[in-house]
């Protein structure tokens, strides 16, 4: 019996061990499905059982070793109540103290508490504006909350009573978006600490790309999240109306229990799905990410057959579409694939195994948002082919995988480094994919390019704020948007005219490759450009990034007179015009305070063109010519490289008026005016 048992036992153990090994290798090599569950759970279990550490898993990335310095490991077990729009969850946070000093307190973001009537977020939004709800009409159902029910520090006991709400940015005692916990025993440098938190999050009706709408939910910024130790201090800002987020890289293992009927999408890779009665539990794993978001809706239609062969391995594209937008699924996948191609080719590899694109609930405030490996688009049931709004949003949010996702700048303090740099690359990528002047719209003869759209958003608010401003210190939401997105994009496009487009492309790649999976500062970015270009660009950065001078160059006057004007006057009409010598003057003015050298093209009636260069240092300059031809036109920046000039109309002047463009516009206006008169008479008389 014994021998027989041993004969059976050893082969059995061998088979189990072998199969586990095979599973482990298969999990690393193949798509992140099913088989990964065992490995992930085993890993998590070892973390819980053994000494504290941050896992070095690579299940969710196409790399055999971690790509970031992992500071945090979140293990969350969350149950979503679809009727109440609440999440009850436990969170185990393991923190690795890499700050080089002991830490005796830890601040946590409780972002959902922003959606309370007296929060700083709402106070600011009411005054300065916001992209979502008009807060005068805010209803209770739209409120959100995030309550820590219990907080225990392993080895230090229950510290729930130690939780204090703090307001590091303002004196608003009603703001509860940051909670601070003092530890009785400081965590020494290099040590680990583990928090066990029980919390409940109540989602608002979608606000700031988080919350519910009808039976849809987007779980963004939904769990207590520790701040970032940055430049010798905790960086954990309150949630402001214009701010986004900042967090450390790490590993996420998240279990989501949702009603059986829900279709779910989330950051990272899905490692298991287990049904139990009316619910199902999905487990997700993320490596080298700094946030975790998810969504659920019973009505998503899923397209998940797309695979992009990236530089580091295959990237599975999972697209969750609204049923009424299903015909646009190909369109979404196409722009996602093209964005991946461009970013990999221009800036660097996309290392993650998945990218989930969510087409969110219509009429929700959930469209156009980025989370690691998870983005939301924005579309409508009616979307003509020549209107590229879905493409614009998808490309933009995908771009954030680089500028925010991997190059994880501080979105509270340097919003321009994620939104602005991303808007710049958006201009480049969309111009390349959809055409320079048609990248937003090419419909019924009318065109709009992304470059112009960014510039227009900037010139509205050109003299309000500098780029280098904390996101919550801008004059208004409009200024925040126009400057961080529009001005930054325009400034970087204009910088190409100074250092060259190719050099700028090299600088962007160098910046990404050097600072991916870190938290660079604005100087890191600017110095990279200077290093790559080999030029001192402080004169430009001081004005464009740190200052708020406005650029406005103008052709002040163009005039031509016969050199012997007095004799010509006497002999008027007797001489051949081609033999007449003219003295021509082209006067330029720098009307703004922004000083920058510019090129000028002077065109003569005989077709001759002369290029001039003006350093722009003085307020005006004048070019004089003596030729047998009059000046026909003068144009500053004839190659349209300078995008930050506030007024493009006065950049050129033609000696003779060309009334055709105005007549064309006039005709549109005349048509509309006549039609309104007719329509009024149709119904009223």
């Amino acid at each position: 019996m014994k021998i027989r048992w041993m004969i059976l036992f050893f082969p059995a153990v061998s088979v189990i061990v072998l199969s586990l090994l095979v599973q482990h290798h298969a999990a690393r090599a193949a798509a992140p499905q099913g088989a990964l569950a065992a490995a992930s759970v085993a890993n998590a279990a070892s973390v819980a059982a053994g000494p504290l550490t941050i896992p070095d898993t690579t299940l969710a990335i196409n790399s055999d070793k971690p790509m970031s310095q992992r500071v945090v490991h979140y293990e969350i077990d969350a149950k979503y109540d679809a009727a109440q729009h609440t999440v009850n969850a436990t969170e185990v946070l393991t923190y690795h103290n890499l700050t080089g000093q002991s830490l005796d307190h830890f601040p946590f973001h409780l972002y959902q508490n922003a959606f309370q009537p007296n929060s700083t977020f709402v106070r600011e939004a009411k005054v300065a504006g916001n992209r979502d709800t008009g807060y005068d009409k805010w209803e209770t159902k739209e409120y959100g909350s995030e309550d820590i029910k219990n907080l225990e520090v392993v080895g230090q006991g229950d510290l729930t009573s130690q939780i204090q709400y703090i307001q590091p940015d303002d004196a608003n005692k009603d703001d509860k978006t940051v909670a601070d916990v003092h530890l009785p025993k400081p965590v020494a440098a290099g040590d680990y600490v583990q928090f066990k938190i029980a919390f409940q999050t109540k989602f608002p009706e979608t606000q700031a790309r988080s919350g519910w709408k009808r039976d849809f939910v987007l779980g963004g910024q939904w769990f207590p999240k520790v701040g970032v130790w940055w430049h010798g201090a905790w960086n954990c800002h309150q949630y402001h109306a214009t701010t986004e987020f900042f967090a450390d890289f790490g590993v996420y293992d998240v279990k989501l229990t949702v009603p059986q009927y829900e279709v779910v999408g989330a950051s990272g890779v899905k490692v298991s799905e287990v049904s139990a009665g009316n619910t199902k539990t999905l487990t997700y794993h993320g490596d080298d990410i700094h946030d975790f978001a998810w969504t659920a809706s019973p009505r998503y239609k899923v397209k998940e057959d797309g695979v992009f062969q990236g530089q580091m391995g295959p990237v599975h594209m999972r697209i969750l579409m609204q049923p009424a937008h299903w015909s646009q699924a190909e369109r979404h996948e196409k722009i996602l694939r093209e964005s991946l191609e461009h970013f990999e080719s221009w800036y660097g590899p996309y290392p993650y195994k998945t990218i989930t694109l969510v087409d969110p609930e219509p009429d929700s405030a959930a469209g156009g948002m980025e989370y690691p490996t998870f983005i939301t688009g924005d579309s409508s049931w009616f979307m003509p082919d020549g209107l590229y709004l879905p493409e614009l949003v998808v490309e933009h949010e995908f771009g954030h995988q680089y500028w925010y996702g991997m190059v994880a700048t501080n979105e509270f303090e340097d919003a321009w480094m994620d939104e602005g740099i991303n808007s710049y690359t958006e201009v480049k990528v969309l111009d390349s994919i959809l055409g320079k002047n048609t990248s937003i719209m090419n419909l019924a003869g009318a065109t709009v390019g992304e470059r112009e759209e960014q510039r227009l958003s900037y010139i509205r608010v050109a003299d309000l704020d500098p780029i280098a401003e904390k996101a919550y210190d801008y004059y208004s939401y409009g200024s925040y948007g126009g400057i961080t997105y529009g001005k930054t994009a325009s400034v970087l496009v204009t910088l190409e005219s100074v250092i060259g487009e190719d050099t700028m492309a090299k600088a962007m790649r160098a910046y990404f490759m050097k600072y991916r999976f870190t938290h660079p500062t604005k100087e890191d970015f600017l110095k990279t450009i200077e290093e790559v270009s080999g030029r001192d660009l402080r004169w430009y950065f001081n004005q464009a990034i740190y200052g708020s001078p406005v650029m406005d160059y103008a052709v002040l006057k163009v005039e031509s007179f016969p050199v012997n004007w007095y004799d010509e006057k006497k002999d008027s009409g007797k001489k051949d015009d081609k033999e007449t010598f003219y003295r021509s003057y082209v006067s330029l003015q720098r009307k703004g305070d922004f000083v920058m050298p510019v090129d000028v093209e002077v065109k003569f009636e005989n077709g001759e063109k002369i290029r001039e260069h003006w350093d722009g240092a003085s307020r005006w300059t004048k070019f004089t010519y003596e030729k047998k031809s009059k000046v026909e036109s003068a144009e500053i920046d004839p190659d349209y490289k300078i995008v930050i000039d506030r007024n493009d109309f006065n950049n050129s002047y033609t000696a003779e008026a060309n009334r055709k463009p105005a007549r064309k516009i006039e005709n549109y206006w005349q048509f509309v005016t006549q039609w309104i008169g007719q329509a009024l008479a149709w119904w009223a008389v």
Binding site: R299, Y653, K660, E666, Q674, G677, A684
Partner: protein
């Protein structure tokens, strides 16, 4: 006027016989719009005429250039341009109210209405038309407010649905219903206008009552004719814009002017066609009961000019005594 002839074809014949009215209304429409667009025009020329950037509006249509132009401080407040255009559109509306009685009179007339008779009809019915407009405004305003209110409620309900397409479906269906109801009201007041002018009816309320009674008796016929003419108008507008966008080169301002103005000229036709339909209906049904004892082809019957002004009498039988 033969009863056997369809409303639409008879109305169309009237329009065809009196093309000059459309022409003059078109001239008025153009002239007033020209005034209305003058402020806009000056601002646009000021910014665009000497700038090379404006070329992007000629060879194609770069909307961002247009937006930037409107955003320029020297363009001035958009309210100035919009205000002037709206005022001139309103003027066209009042001019239509002023001259419409002459048009109705002309349509009812079997011969070319002399200019003095046209203007006499206009002057004689001006105050009546103003009263009609006020009543129509109140009735149609109340109806529109109620319908749009209900429409809003339905839209809000539809917006709660998880079926995204329900909202646009409700929206379009609701607008179609509102259009039909408003068109039905429009039919009644148009008929009242015809009655006021052609019966020389000083008591506007009686014309309204008569019109409402008649349209109740023939609820579908007039409405159907209005729907047909409206579809025609929509086709003209869509067709005109299609031709403008697809066949006129972007740089051809002259081509754009011709196509756009031709479209607007053609757009006037359906409304006058509706007027022709109303006059036809009036002559067929409201002047007197038609007793056909023996069929007599429609003949040119000279209008009877009453002491108070022109009153057309088409049928061979005497008109019903007018209630006073």
């Amino acid at each position: 006027m033969s009863e056997h002839k369809g409303l639409l074809s008879s109305g169309w014949s009237m329009v065809a016989r009196n093309k000059r009215y459309i022409f003059w209304f078109y001239v008025l429409n153009v002239a007033l719009a020209r005034f209305g667009a003058a402020a806009f025009s000056n601002q646009v020329h000021e910014i665009l005429d000497h700038s090379l950037l404006s070329d992007r509006l000629v060879h194609g249509f770069d909307l961002s250039v247009l937006i930037e132009m409107i955003a320029r401080p020297e363009f001035g407040p958009t309210s100035a341009s919009v205000g002037a255009a709206t005022a001139c559109a309103a003027l066209f509306f009042f001019a239509t109210a002023l001259f419409l009685p002459g048009v109705l009179q002309g349509y009812a007339s079997a011969y070319r209405l002399p200019r003095e008779d046209f203007f006499r009809a206009c002057g004689r019915n001006l105050w009546r038309f103003i009263r009609l407009l006020i009543v129509a405004g109140i009735v149609m305003g109340i109806a529109a407010a109620a319908l749009f209110g209900l429409h809003g409620v339905l839209e809000r309900k539809a917006a709660e649905s998880t079926n995204e397409l329900l909202l646009p479906e409700v929206r379009f269906a609701g607008l179609a219903v509102i259009f039909l109801v408003m068109a039905a009201l429009r039919v009644r007041f148009d008929l009242a206008q015809a009655d006021v002018v052609l019966s020389d009816q000083p008591a506007v309320r009686k014309s309204i009552g008569t019109a409402f009674r008649h349209t109740l008796q023939n609820p579908g016929r007039l409405l159907a004719s209005y729907v047909v003419t409206t579809i025609f108008a929509a086709a003209v507008l869509v067709g005109g814009i299609f031709v403008w966008l697809n066949f006129v080169p972007p740089a051809s301002v002259a081509g754009a002017v011709v196509v756009s103005q031709l479209t607007l000229l053609l757009l006037l036709i359906p409304r006058f066609w509706q007027r022709g339909v109303m006059v036809t209906y009036y002559l067929q049904h409201m002047v007197a009961p038609i007793v056909v004892q023996s069929f007599t082809p429609a003949s040119v019957v000279p209008p009877v000019i009453s002491q108070h002004g022109p009153t057309p009498v088409a049928p061979s039988t005497p008109p019903e005594p007018q209630a006073s």
